[in-house]
């Protein structure tokens, strides 16, 4: 193995370690001393210089000079960081925050580390196309990792802290003394009932709208209005849906009585745009050729839609619907004014009676943390909610795959 390759591998590992230290510091707020950072950057810079000088001496080429220049740049960064003040006080700009220097050190280490490891692929492959290619691939992998990492951290955190609280008692009993004891049985049933009812309301409405928009509507003013309305609905914060549900369904329709039906209707409005959009996209993805073929065989428009257009778009429609329902299952704001009590509602018995629901239960427990001993219960509730939402999404995937095999 040539010296060039060895140097490149060395630079790669050093920079990976540096970026990991930076990431760790950001993640757990551990402090990085100035000298830690400056030392590691100087180490990198020396390696970079060595690599650059070696390459340049074997092959005089503008590209080979690059590592040399880059090494000097890192050195400059290390020197300049000396001027970062201990604490950056933002209060003179009326922002009430103070940023300590180790935060900047961590950021510098993270980014310099990632960038240098990316650069090390070039000398390894002797500055040819291959190097640029595998370097780009490496950056894509890092991006994916950075996207997935927080997700896994959250999930494992919740599982780790919540798993202990999920007992038989927790799953089967009503809450006792403000959630300190007992379980969440009515809230589980309430959430499931709410999702089921939402699905029943939203599926025909959403799919009907989508069929109208995709198949029947000519591109006129009316269609544009409907589409804009759907988009606005999608962008509306869920608390606004909640307030609307309270003002319209609870106060006007149900005489001031919070109830399961009012909550499901509000959630239906919340999920309607998601369902409509994904269904419309799925319908539009069916090639126009097939519609023409069907019409040319003497089928009516409705027969064409029913037998040729809808079957292949069903997986898409179902996936969109279930994803929408997954979102609805986790929402608190739309139901807190319209359907749920913290305790005392009991298991759902009637559409016109209030229920308990997991997201709202979690919110209430969170508010009690510090006053009462409910922390374990809160984590367990969070885990349960996560399981339900993930379960819904996974079932969407399974259903889609099943259907895909048929067509």
């Amino acid at each position: 193995m040539s010296i060039r390759k060895l140097l490149a591998i060395w630079i790669f590992f050093v920079s990976i370690v540096i970026s990991l230290i930076g990431f760790h510091s950001l993640a757990v707020q551990s402090e990085i001393e100035y000298w830690t950072m400056a030392g590691s950057l100087i180490l990198l810079s020396i390696s970079g210089h060595a690599c650059g000088i070696h390459n340049y001496s074997t092959k005089k080429d503008g590209k080979n000079l690059f590592m040399l220049i880059y090494g000097s740049v890192i050195l400059t960064i290390a020197a300049l960081s000396f001027y970062i003040p201990d604490v950056l006080d933002l209060r003179p700009w009326e922002i009430y925050a103070r940023i300590p220097d180790h935060f900047f050190f961590a950021l510098i280490m993270l980014f310099v580390g990632i960038f240098t490891s990316y650069l090390s692929f070039r000398p390894y492959h002797n500055y040819n196309k291959e190097g640029a290619q595998s370097g780009a691939l490496y950056v894509l992998h890092v991006t994916i990792l950075l996207t997935l990492l927080p997700l896994f951290i959250i999930i494992f955190n919740i599982i780790f802290r919540g798993a202990g609280g999920i007992t038989y008692e927790f799953l089967t009993e009503d809450i006792v003394s403000m959630g300190e004891q007992g379980g969440v049985y009515p809230a589980i049933l309430g959430t499931l009932a709410m999702i089921a009812l939402t699905a029943i309301i939203v599926l025909p409405l959403g799919v009907g709208t989508a069929i109208y928009l995709a198949e029947y509507a000519r591109k006129g003013l009316a269609v544009r209005l409907i589409r804009t309305a759907v988009n606005i609905l999608q962008g509306t914060p869920s608390i606004v849906h909640g307030l609307f549900g309270y003002a319209f369904f609870v106060l006007i329709v149900f005489n001031g009585q919070k109830c399961l039906l009012a909550g499901a209707l509000t959630l239906a409005i919340l999920t309607l745009p998601i369902v409509t959009r994904s269904a419309e996209e799925a319908l539009n993805a069916v090639p126009g050729d097939l519609r023409d073929a069907s019409l040319a065989l003497g089928a009516t428009k409705w027969q064409t839609i029913r037998k040729v257009v809808i079957p292949p778009s069903l997986p898409g429609i179902l996936t969109g619907t279930v994803l929408g329902l997954g979102r609805a299952a986790g929402e608190t704001a739309p139901i807190m004014f319209t359907a749920v009590y913290f305790s005392g509602a009991g298991t759902p018995r009637s559409l016109l009676r209030p229920v308990q629901a997991l997201p709202y239960h979690l919110l209430s427990l969170y508010r009690l943390v510090g006053y009462r001993d409910v922390e374990n219960q809160a984590w367990a509730t969070a885990l349960l909610l996560l399981i339900i939402v993930l379960g819904i999404n996974i079932s969407a995937i399974i259903v889609r795959e099943k259907y895909r095999q048929r067509f």
Partner: protein, 270 residues
Amino acid sequence: MIKKILEILKEDCECAYKGLPKGMKMRVDDFDLWYGKTQAITSVNMNIQKNKVTAIIGPSGCGKSTLIRSFNRMNDTIPTVRTEGHVWLDGYDIYDDTADCVEIRRKVGMVFQKPNPFPFSIANNIYYGCQVNGMDVAKDEVVERCLKQAAIWEEVKDRLSENALSLSGGQQQRLCIARALAIEPEVILMDEPCSALDPIATAKIEDLINELKKDYTVVIVTHNMQQAARVSDYTAYMYLGELIEFGKTKQIFENPREESTEKYITGRFG
């Protein structure tokens, strides 16, 4: 009052009905078509004879597809289309207000340029037309008859329940022809049915067209001059949305009356 209504009805019927001479299946009468504001077809007149093959040729973009799609009102699916004039089928005007598109398309079947089988099984592809038209027929019989007529039975008889998309392009196109035959149309329109096929599959389809004209009236759009000469009895030459020349294929190819036709046929076009 009733008398008056009857009179109006009679008038309506009279204006929608025009007996065609014997042997003539369709007749196009001063037909114009616009896509929005641009005119794609300008006053076309032509006759389509029963149990004959009529070919439509012409340079790309001259309106061949548009014209053939007018024969079963497939252009209705495009919102911007506007038409004037008449197309008579057995003496009934298919552009009359009272005409039923679904019924017309049942009588005038169509095969498209690109094979477009449904993502169903081969058998269900054939049976689909019977199903949507509520035809009371035995599925197995229809499937076998149509696949045999379209000369593809031998290749697929053991895999009728397989997805039609697993067939090759040429097989798919013959399946589409078989599918069009299932609803027992009177006229079959084909828009460049061979443009995606290799010479062998093309030859099969040309043989098929020769077979088909015993029972059906065929109209075919083609880019391929030899094909038009081989399969058709009548040929229409179009240019820029107008019908330049129409006549017996032999006459069109051997002594065209118009200079433009001759140039196109001999390949000195442009």
